[in-house]
Symmetry: C2
Subunit: 507 residues, 2 copies
Amino acid sequence: MDFQTKLSQLKTILEEVADLDSATNLLDWDQQCYMPPGGVEDRSNQLATLKRLSHVRFTSDEVGQLLEDLQPYATQLDPDSDEARLIKVTARKYKKNTRVPSEMVAEFAQMTSLAYQIWQVARVENNFTKFSPYLEKIVDWKRRYANLFVPYDHIYDPLLDEFEPGLKTADVKAIFNDLRPQQVTLIQAIADRPQVDDAFLHQPFNEHMQWEFGVKVISKFGYDWNHGRQDKTAHPFSIGFGVRDVRITTRVYPDYLSSALFSTMHECGHALYDMGVDPTFDRTPLADITSLALHESQSRLWENLVGRSHEFWEYYYQRLVDRFPSQLGNVSLEAFYKGINKVKPSLIRVEADEATYNLHIMLRLELEIALVEGNLQVKDLPEAWNARMKEYLGLIPPNDADGVLQDVHWSSGIIGYFSTYALGNLISGQLWECIKADIPNLSDHIRHGEFGELLTWLREKIHRHGSKFVLQEMVQRVTGSKITPVPYMRYLWNKFGDIYGLRPSMS
Amino acid sequence: MDFQTKLSQLKTILEEVADLDSATNLLDWDQQCYMPPGGVEDRSNQLATLKRLSHVRFTSDEVGQLLEDLQPYATQLDPDSDEARLIKVTARKYKKNTRVPSEMVAEFAQMTSLAYQIWQVARVENNFTKFSPYLEKIVDWKRRYANLFVPYDHIYDPLLDEFEPGLKTADVKAIFNDLRPQQVTLIQAIADRPQVDDAFLHQPFNEHMQWEFGVKVISKFGYDWNHGRQDKTAHPFSIGFGVRDVRITTRVYPDYLSSALFSTMHECGHALYDMGVDPTFDRTPLADITSLALHESQSRLWENLVGRSHEFWEYYYQRLVDRFPSQLGNVSLEAFYKGINKVKPSLIRVEADEATYNLHIMLRLELEIALVEGNLQVKDLPEAWNARMKEYLGLIPPNDADGVLQDVHWSSGIIGYFSTYALGNLISGQLWECIKADIPNLSDHIRHGEFGELLTWLREKIHRHGSKFVLQEMVQRVTGSKITPVPYMRYLWNKFGDIYGLRPSMS
């Protein structure tokens, strides 16, 4: 049998797996958006079954045999061709997934579907004890999972690898050790200057009008409503069911303008990536989300480097004032720009400014590592959280809802993900310097509310490739170097130098 | 290996199949409620894959062997016990499904997902020609399907059997032949009397307030929002994902009051059935919807025998007037009651009154049978539709959107279903006489907005049994006789006798 026949046999199985995974994503989307609470028991069973069937099918001997048969052909292909990469990416996933028993995959799906539901209640009730038994089970599962990959350099490596193939705990620690003092220096420099006023953001803003404004903005970004939609959830996210249906969610606070505005842009950034994947990759692992850091580089780029830029608001501010004249009529563009970029250590990660954001990530990474190492018990987590918040940001949360219970991730069994947010920030800085070099009049485009050329650049350089390339490989291809904090720190110093009147330190 | 072990092995497989089917239902619900149009190609693939996997698993030799092994034990059980019935119902489904190739099941799912999307557009555009190639494929598939069940008495039998196991085309024809002249006599008697005014129903009614009123009513009926929700769709339906998550949809017209009001009650009637199934049946075929006629008997009972009754409005009318004082303030309860029960031949089935409704069904049944027999071509369907509308109801649709394109069923591949609506009407009449005998003060309950005892009766006699019993068996158990039009016609004569001042003819 020839190469094409075998490849086509493989693709048929991959399509079946992709369809199961899309249905799983819909079960998940629905649980977060619309499912009545009483449906959770059935839902957790459904998720467990579909995840198990997908895993069984993907890890079947048939797939193993096809991959083995295809290997000799693959070595003769251009290693960067779609076909060679499909085989490579599938083989990597196969090698990893075959280590994990299907029953363990089902157990995880069922456990986290229930844990998510409990966490929602625990957070509202500010009751960590209600959630902790579920988190204990999740941490235990994650440790068992990691130990399927012995030998490892670090027990956290296999967890990180789920979200960022090839990246090691030691790599992340090295980058963060380099980054942390630079962030602290910046924050200190800002703290020494007169502070910015953002009280005008904390007023009543009509929820429907907030929603509509966000919709207008992301429509301009290029979000395609024929292939997507936006719903309200407690925690914004983006999710795809194939490359032709990529949805986002947001949340709207009636008395705080920034939340819906920037979370909408953030999730749109994710969705634009998935919507831009080469459609011929649909229903194959090349359309999967592989590198979460690359994904976050897109969401953070649209949210911050575009959405929190002066140029952006040169175009949009008057439009915003027109919608909210009583709240913003007396606020100048300059005051608004400074307000939405106010640097202030705060409790909630997703509301954090660009200068302090990465410290929230470092805190979580260290706690996750300690949990997985066994050096921290779940019951001691609130105390450890609060101690680190005090150390890093000078704040102690008044309650666990605004502390250790704030993020959705752990309840969904997502451990190993957080560092990708900070890495995404760094990459967004690297990309931005390349984009500005390639599109010299980018600032003018943004000043006129034009994002087409920017999106085209991102599609061409990044989105269309799907998960053909792993993180460092992709960053190297696009920017000419591996991940480095230098451009991002340069961006922060320039931006906050202007806003706070700092003396240049890194440019 | 003993009975319990084998039964438990069977149940494990049945649970997997049920989870796949629930996920399929969610894919379907989402396509009708929320999916962006551009997602249809991926969605049709997902539906095809999940339907195929469910079919493959259910029709596996393993299931066949377990059923065979369980048979000797089953014969020693009480034949009405849950276990005996589970085996019986599963064996019936197995015998039927194993006749159908899995690829044909997948083909059907993919085809109908696309056809549904096209039909939506064709209906808006009033363009039958756009839809007809898809319907041709569906009819062709149905004919191929039916011919897998040769020998049959009639080619339509296997299609009917999908929705009503055990019922034959000849049975339905016999019932309808008995019913038709009685309906025609009634309608003629009404036509000879002064007509009722319902113009007040055709005014602007605030959509949100219509929605809220419906929600209040079905909450009183017993719809459990912890295990359900309501959304808006072009075509109201109810659907379950396990017995603990049973959802309904409705549509709201801004200038016609009856539509949302009665479709909400109708779908609630369906949902109450599914919500009332013995929870131990969850994730087994005993929780499937087997008899659609029984299902329709519940929806039509709540919509009509309760929701269009005088007693009901004695409680609710003032509440409705309070919400819509400018529209209804000058309309008396008597005038309103007559208005919502106005008998008038009309174009649209779902808006039809109780006296003419069954004629809409007979028309569809005859056309379906002719299509499947090959005696009618799809291209000739609009003409045949209009000719029968003229003959039965004295009307010719001004366009296909209000004619042959009005119903969702054919686009979803549902052929063989329509007669269950009329049968459901007849059964609702039979049940109602039994209920009134068992709950002598039922009218008083309804006059006080109390439906608890009625729901308890329905749960006890019907809902909790799920699909343990087939149609005639269940009707016989509950009412003491098989399906007969007598009670329903008696109900119609009494009701419309009062409204139109007819001389008694059948009581």
